[in-house]
C-alpha cells in the first residue's frame, strides 16, 4: 500500500508540466491554475521553475500574484523578441515619449503664437521649439539604436515611482511588435 501523502484534487499547471505531485503547500498552485499551462510553460522556459520558486518565496504572499503577472509578461516579451526582450519594449515607449514631447513643444509654441496674435501682436519667433527638438535623443531618428547608448537614457530604476498598488492589468496593454525586427 502506498504512503498516505496528501494529494491535491487537481495538479496546478506547474506540477503538471514538471510531472510531479502537486501538494497543498505548492508555491505555484495559487498562481498557475491547471488552465494556465501556456503561461507557466513560457515562464519556465525563460526563468526556470526553481528560479521562479525562489523569487516567489522572497516576496510577501500578497504580492506573489503581481510578481507572477510581471514574470509572465517579461517571459512573453522575451520569447517574442529573444535579443531585446522588454528592453525593446522600453525603447519603443521611450521613442514614443520623445515624439510626444516634441509634439507638445511644437503645440505650445503654436499656442503662444495664437495667444500672441489674439493679443494684437505679430508672429512669434519659433526657434526655441526646434532647439528643444535638436537636444532630443538621437533615438528619435535612429532606426537601429545602439543598445548601450539607449540604456543610458532609461531613467535610473531606483528613482522611478512604481504603481500605487493598482493591479498591473489595469495599466499594461499590448505594446505591439518590437522595434528591432
Amino acid at each position: 500500500m502506498r504512503g498516505h501523502e496528501p494529494r491535491s484534487s487537481s495538479s496546478c499547471a506547474a506540477c503538471k508540466l514538471l510531472k510531479r505531485r502537486c501538494t497543498p503547500t505548492c508555491i505555484f498552485a495559487p498562481h498557475f491554475r491547471s488552465s494556465d499551462q501556456m503561461t507557466f510553460a513560457k515562464v519556465h522556459k525563460v526563468f526556470g521553475a526553481s528560479n521562479v520558486s525562489k523569487l516567489l518565496s522572497e516576496v510577501p504572499e500578497e504580492q506573489r500574484q503581481e510578481t507572477v503577472n510581471s514574470l509572465a509578461y517579461e517571459a512573453d516579451v522575451r520569447l517574442k523578441d529573444p535579443v531585446y526582450g522588454c528592453i525593446g519594449a522600453i525603447a519603443s515607449l521611450q521613442k514614443k515619449m520623445l515624439e510626444l514631447q516634441h509634439d507638445i513643444a511644437v503645440a505650445r509654441s503654436r499656442l503662444l503664437s495664437a495667444a500672441h496674435n489674439n493679443a494684437g501682436g505679430g508672429g512669434v519667433n519659433n526657434n526655441n521649439s526646434s532647439n528643444h527638438v535638436s537636444s532630443l535623443s538621437p533615438l528619435v531618428d535612429d532606426s537601429s539604436p545602439q543598445l548601450a547608448a539607449f540604456l543610458d537614457l532609461v531613467p535610473s530604476y531606483s528613482d522611478l515611482m512604481l504603481l500605487d498598488g493598482s493591479g498591473l492589468d489595469a495599466y499594461l496593454f499590448d505594446i505591439g511588435q518590437p522595434p528591432f525586427v
Binding site: 510581471s70 526582450g85 521611450q94 509634439d103 507638445i104 496674435n117 489674439n118
Partner: protein
C-alpha cells in the same frame, strides 16, 4: 585551472573551454554581471537562449538580459515591467496634455478668426 576563466566559469567553478559560450560576454573583470543573470535566469537557460541566437546578436542579448536581471533584483515584484507601466502611464498623460493643448490652439485660432471678421465688418 585556467587563470583566464570568464566570469561565468569562475562563478560556476569549472574549466573555461576555448569555445565557452559565455566568455565573450562575461569578462572576469565584471563578476557581478553573471552573478545577477544567473540568479534570475540560471546559467542553463542563458546558455540555451544564447545558443539559439545568431552570434552577432548575442552581445546585445546579454546586455538586455543583464539589465532585466538587475531590474528584477532591485524590484522582485515588478522587475523592468515596472518601467514599462510607468512609461505607458506617462505616455497616456502626455497624450491627454497634447490633446488639451491642441484644443486650446483651436479655440485661440477660432477667437482670432472671429475678431478679424468683426473688425472687417
Amino acid at each position: 585551472m585556467n587563470p583566464k576563466r570568464c566570469a561565468a566559469c569562475k562563478y560556476l567553478r569549472r574549466r573555461c573551454p576555448k569555445d565557452c559560450i559565455f566568455s565573450p560576454y562575461f569578462p572576469p573583470s565584471d563578476p557581478d554581471k553573471f552573478a545577477c543573470i544567473h540568479r534570475i535566469y540560471g546559467a542553463g537557460n542563458v546558455s540555451k537562449m544564447l545558443q539559439q541566437l545568431p552570434v552577432q546578436t548575442r552581445a546585445e542579448a546579454v546586455e538586455s538580459l543583464s539589465f532585466e536581471a538587475k531590474c528584477r533584483v532591485e524590484d522582485p515584484v515588478y522587475g523592468c515591467v515596472g518601467i514599462i507601466s510607468l512609461l505607458q502611464t506617462q505616455i497616456q498623460k502626455t497624450q491627454t496634455l497634447l490633446a488639451r493643448t491642441q484644443a486650446q490652439i483651436a479655440v485661440a485660432q477660432a477667437k482670432h478668426s472671429q475678431t478679424q471678421i468683426s473688425e472687417f465688418m
